[in-house]
């Protein structure tokens, strides 16, 4: 599953609120924690590697 930055952050926020509720089993908590840790690494990576792209609207129009 490939998520963009916005989706990744949204998922990370979800994980935080689920973990903070604390109703989950230890096993589920650890699973979520692992996912959250991976996501935050991924987000940091996305931010550090981002490079601005500039396109002319004419190219957009030509490429449909």
């Amino acid at each position: 599953m490939k998520m963009n930055y916005e989706e990744s952050v949204k998922r990370l926020e979800e994980i935080v609120s689920k973990l903070e509720e604390g109703n989950l089993s230890l096993e589920d908590s650890l699973k979520l924690y692992e996912e959250g840790a991976l996501l935050s690494d991924k987000c940091r990576k996305m931010l550090s590697e981002a490079k601005l792209k500039i396109t002319n609207i004419n190219e957009v129009a030509e490429n449909g």
Partner: protein, 404 residues
């Protein structure tokens, strides 16, 4: 023309007209006055009015060709400076001012036009706050409408590449000054909407005079912005410059740079936010682990885990007790069965035929069948007699019926 002879009205008016038109001074005259009796002809586009001051008035007309060039709307009571020529309208014998150009007196024409357009568009609801669209948090595509050669677009690109390089800039190069520019920019706004190729649009132009920025007061542009599905940030001119474009846009930025800053989040803030979220999951998982450890500690503190030996002893004793009672129950059952069997055996013994034989009776059999009636026997039958201590074979010699 010989004025001493009798002339017609037409000839008179024609003569006066030629005099007026022949006067150099009246050919290009600036007249200040207040507009009254303003009556535009909707069909022809000509504007008719009277200019007056405290004491006097003069009729004036502005033909459609010149009238279409004025940026503001004429109104009764407005003080103006009109430039034009004086001539006579022969039909009425009235001289009038033929206006080429008209400017508001005192306040600038553009300022008047601006206020008027602003008021009209405001009435049409173009500035209603509830119509303002919100700017997306993470725009993937930022539309930029600006001059390809201007500093404004450079500022915007620099700021977006520094703040939010995750996005893509879709650039529409337009002129930002000169007649018809407003329409071209309006067209660019429509293009973005048609192509759906931006999450937010920045309209950017550097500072300039009110005249330079005039095209950003275009009504066509205002309506294109109003009708845009994509939120628009206006970054036109400097902090102190206001254009209609600013009022109708979803968000007004004082400068192009500020517009870029409003369009995208700051990557450093995003990184801090990710760190914050990461810290939260760490904290949550640590406290979860702590809670589980405490639960475990509590369990260890309870009887079973503290002295498991006691528990086992208890179990052992219970099992022994159970076995004991099981044993006694089984024994009781066995004994009662045994007693019952003994009684039955005694009864059986009492009923045994051998026991009866021992009391002096014997059993008679013929061909292995027990004989219980004399009718079963005939004379000379060989019968077997069974006694308690042996057997005898005998021959029937006489049969007597039942003892009477």
């Amino acid at each position: 023309m010989n004025l001493h002879s009798i002339i017609s009205v037409s000839q008179l008016n024609m003569y006066v007209r030629s005099l007026l038109e022949g006067d150099e001074n009246l050919n290009n005259v600036f007249v200040s006055g207040e507009i009254s009796n303003f009556s535009p002809n909707a069909r022809s586009g000509h504007l008719y009015m009277t200019l007056k001051d405290g004491n006097c008035s003069v009729k004036a007309v502005m033909f459609a060709g010149n009238a279409s060039k004025i940026k503001f709307r004429l109104e009764n009571g407005m003080s103006v400076i009109a430039r034009g020529r004086i001539s006579l309208y022969e039909r009425d014998g009235a001289y009038q001012l033929y206006i080429d150009d008209i400017q508001p007196d005192g306040i600038g024409a553009l300022a008047i036009a601006f206020e008027q357009l602003k008021e009209r568009l405001s009435k049409d609801g173009l500035f209603d706050p509830e119509r303002k669209k919100s700017i997306p948090l993470f725009p993937k595509k930022v539309g930029v409408i600006s001059s390809p050669n201007g500093a404004a677009v450079q500022d915007v690109v620099n700021i977006i590449s520094r703040r939010f390089p995750l996005s893509e800039i879709i650039f529409a190069g337009v002129p930002v000054q000169g007649d018809g520019t407003g329409e071209i920019i309006a067209h660019a706004v429509s293009d973005f909407n048609y192509l759906k190729c931006a999450d937010v649009i920045i309209i950017a132009r550097g500072g300039g005079s009110a005249e330079d920025l005039w095209e950003f007061n275009s009504e066509t542009l205002a309506r294109a912005i109003y009708n845009s599905e994509i939120p628009i940030i206006s970054g036109v001119g400097h902090e102190t410059d206001f254009t209609i474009c600013d009022f109708v846009s979803d968000l007004r930025a004082p400068t192009p740079s500020a517009a870029a800053e409003l369009a995208v989040p700051d990557i450093n803030e995003l990184a801090s936010y990710i760190n914050l979220l990461n810290g939260k999951i760490n904290k949550a998982i640590n406290s979860k682990i702590l809670i589980e450890e405490m639960r475990l500690d509590n369990l260890s503190a309870s009887g079973f885990l503290r002295k498991p030996g006691d528990f086992l002893n208890d179990c052992d004793k219970r099992i022994l007790d159970l076995r004991k009672s099981l044993n006694s129950v089984v024994r009781a059952i066995y004994e009662s069965k045994y007693n019952r069997a003994f009684v039955l055996l005694s009864k059986l013994d009492a009923l045994s035929p051998l026991k009866i034989l021992s009391r002096g009776y014997s059993v008679v059999k013929l061909n292995e069948s027990v004989v219980s009636s004399v009718s079963q026997l005939n004379v000379n039958d060989i019968i077997k007699l069974r006694f308690t201590d042996g057997k005898v074979e005998a021959t029937v010699t006489k049969i007597t019926d039942k003892v009477k």
